[in-house]
Amino acid sequence: MTQPSANGISSPAAAVRGTTISPIKLLLKGRAFFALIAIIIVFSFLSPNYLTVSNLLIMSSHVAIYGILAIGMLVVILSGGIDLSVGSILALCGVVAGALMQGVKLTPLGVILFPPVWAVVVLTCALGALLGALNGILIAWFRVPAFVTTLGVMYMARGIALLQTNGLTYNNLAGRPELGNTGFDWLGFNRLFGVPISVLVLAALAVLTGLMLSRSSFGRWLYAAGGNENAADLSGVPVKRVKITVYTLSGILSAIAGLVLSSQLTSAGPTAGTTYELTAIAAVVIGGAALTGGRGTVRGTMLGAFVIGFLSDGLVIIGVSSYWQTVFTGAVIVLAVLMNTIQYGARGIRQ
């Protein structure tokens, strides 16, 4: 993959330099920044409804799902792997949350347990973590290539989601006050200071991951393991542990995305999230990360996710026919990265 060679490590490097970099400069360094600006300008001209606070917030809440998945995908890609199972884990976690909200029947006792919402959230995230860890263990210990492992888990998780629901969708996720399990729709419906919770969740996760990557020792291990696994290993980086951790993180983030999505829809179906892995990978790559590992930033990935989300929503708002939407999406994805390549020129670009 192609990118300015200093891109992936600019943020830790900057951290080392210790200079305070202005937010504007930080944004300018993201490869997808200009594409995002161009998209916003074009659509603002084409529709008066595009550049309104309420629309920006709605669009951001759509981005949230892909964005959360893309953060998980980023850490996996930084480690030199890939995770195709995010969409399926999202769906499985969604329907498990749905099932838990319907109550857990303990047949021997003859009672139905209604876990409170916080317990549902915790259990769902734990399930996501488990599936992610399964990916990680197969990849790190059994050395199955990441593509194959996560492809397999993608099919398996989807199949289990279908089996568990028998193809049906759980609808009644609001809970009932008398059962003490209300509040599930908070994630998808409520707003804090006018901002949808899902957007805040995305922002929080992005900031946390950004800090983890740039400031924690784990972040440094991750960049090192993705950059040169052998050298990292000999320098004492616990490479296997790093790998298992990144897939587990990706699993947890998929579970969170699943919770947010089912909360937004107040329903959880087994076919949710199909092909989202492609969108998540696209966001990461448009954001300047290398599929070979070791290069990429959260900032870039967020820009990538917003480019994709703001583009596709904009096309709907100006009422472009769905076929043309497909054509434009493709063209803009290529142009976004092409513009960036031209902007930085051949200088510093290594294959």
Partner: protein, 512 residues
């Protein structure tokens, strides 16, 4: 090529650099250099790490374009658009950093991009025949069909050399061709070089093994900070002249540090046995035992393939032994992961810096601090301030020539990259430090500096074990010299032994 060549008088300049300058992003690597290559003779280029030697050679071989200045071939100014272009003009180069495709076989690497084709596609049989001939000429027993990634570093370097030789070129540039070779192999290479020069081929030779280079050179050119500072024919130069012009003062590798007593045994290897990691079915380390005491510097000398690398890698935790014990400060550590061994004070500077030493996607500073992240981690966060201090100190300690800690590691000269690998492991503040060929590719000043640092660490109570293929290095710093042969210790000397005895014990005398 040879008809035209023989008609010229010996010593004629075939290729010349005129006022060549080169800047990388504003950093001036070359500041207007004039450099002549004489027909049928060996011109040696000396200079400190980062002096610009490799840059100049890359310009002469069309790999990079100069910022200004011109190249004159047979009296005509010429511009090489690519390395292929230069090769078509009869110029080929052995790069300092290996440029082989690891997934391809030796044969495929040698003929990559210049296939011999017949009616049924590539003529593999003919290519293989030529490879065998070349390898036989280099007295190297390598199967042409082995994938390059399965070869030892030295063997990979031989493949690079064979590739350059397989092109019938009139100018052959060798950028540190012997950094991973043993004395025997260097001898073979030199005899090949003599054959070539006799046929009128011009050679440019770069090495940090000064004595070795003196044996072969006809002209010496010294580069310093991107300028040519001295030129002399062979008759007028000696070691002292080179060193003086290179670094401005005279350097001596010194002698083993004295004045401190050895402490308790820090590292104890007992009956260690390691099977061949490539699955050869024999043991590369064979029931070997060794004790190293605090304050002691031990040099392990041996021919290529003696098993030194495997021994050190096993102690560091990269390979696992089938039997035997590794005891660090009285505690058995063979079950511990690498990271744990490092935090207990055991560090390994690996032999192959590109594959095992550096993370190419990271900056110089991040590479230097990679093995000691925990040193500057407070709670869950790394401390920018502490890291910067640590990195600055490392850069000073091992004298890395860099524009600052934030530049990509790939922009450093080869020797400076090697110093980063050494600096990274020294920064972990080890009690026992293992260095596998630490002097590979570093200049004489830096070598003295590294040895001074090792001596300093030893005096401070650390144990040092290093391997080398240069006997002089053993003699000038080690308290004890171990000779390894086929996975065992074949002899053990103290520092007052002679070079000849060491070489005899290693089996080199017989081989040579």
């Amino acid at each position: 090529m040879s008809d035209a060549a023989t008609s010229r008088p010996a010593g004629e300049v075939v290729l010349a650099a005129r006022n060549i300058a080169k800047s990388y992003n504003g950093v001036r690597a070359l500041k207007g250099v004039n450099f002549d290559i004489h027909r049928g003779q060996v011109t040696t280029l000396f200079g400190e790490n980062g002096a610009g030697k490799s840059t100049l050679m890359k310009i002469l071989s069309g790999v990079v374009q100069p910022t200004s200045g011109e190249i004159v071939l047979d009296g005509q100014p010429i511009v090489f658009s690519s390395s292929t272009d230069a090769r078509n003009h009869g110029i080929s180069i052995i790069h300092q950093e290996l440029s082989l495709a690891p997934n391809l076989s030796v044969r495929d690497n040698i003929f990559m991009g210049r296939e011999i084709t017949g009616p049924t596609g590539v003529n593999y049989a003919e290519e293989e025949r030529q490879v065998r001939r070349l390898l036989a000429e280099l007295e190297e027993d390598i199967d042409p069909l082995t994938p390059v990634e399965e070869l030892r570093l030295g063997q990979q370097q031989i493949v690079e050399i064979a590739r350059a030789l397989s092109v019938d070129s009139r100018i052959l540039i060798m950028d540190e061709p012997t950094s991973a070779l043993s004395a025997t192999e260097v001898e073979v290479l030199f005899s090949v070089i003599r054959d070539l020069t006799a046929k009128g081929v011009s050679i440019v030779y770069i090495s940090h093994h000064l004595e070795e280079a003196l044996q072969i050179t006809d002209h010496a050119v010294v580069l310093r900070d991107g300028n040519m500072t001295a030129y002399a024919p062979r008759a007028d130069i000696d070691l002292e002249w080179i060193v003086r012009n290179m670094v401005g003062e005279n350097y001596d590798l010194g002698s083993p540090p004295t004045g401190h007593d050895f402490g308790p045994v820090m590292l104890s290897i007992r009956e260690l046995t390691v099977p061949d990691p490539a699955g050869g079915g024999y043991n590369v380390v064979d029931r070997m035992s060794l004790d190293v005491r605090a304050g002691e510097i031990v040099c392990i000398y041996g021919l290529m393939g003696a098993g030194r690398t495997e021994l050190l890698e096993t102690v560091a935790g990269k390979l696992s032994a089938t039997s035997g014990e590794i005891v660090l400060e009285g505690k058995e550590i063979s079950h511990l992961p690498i990271g744990e061994r490092i935090s207990r004070g055991l560090a390994l500077v690996p032999e192959d810096r590109q594959r095992y030493g550096l993370v190419q996607t990271m900056s110089v500073g991040q590479n230097l601090s990679l093995a000691s992240i925990m040193e500057f981690t407070r709670g869950i966060f790394t401390s920018v301030k502490l890291e910067r201090a640590l990195v600055q100190k490392s850069i000073r300690d091992v004298t890395v020539k860099t524009d600052g800690p934030d530049v990509p590691i790939g922009s450093l000269s080869g020797g400076n990259q090697q110093k980063v690998v050494i600096g990274k492991m020294l920064a972990t503040d080890p009690k026992v430090i293992l260095l596998d060929e630490p002097s590979r590719g570093i200049d004489i000043g830096a070598k003295a500096e590294v040895f001074r640092i090792l001596a300093h660490h030893a005096a401070a109570g650390q144990a040092v074990v290093f391997t080398t293929s240069e006997v002089n290095e053993c003699l000038s710093i080690a308290h004890r010299i171990i000779i390894m042969r086929r996975g065992r210790i074949s002899a053990e000397f103290t520092s007052d032994i002679t070079k000849e005895k060491i070489m005899a014990a290693s089996g080199e005398a017989m081989a040579a």
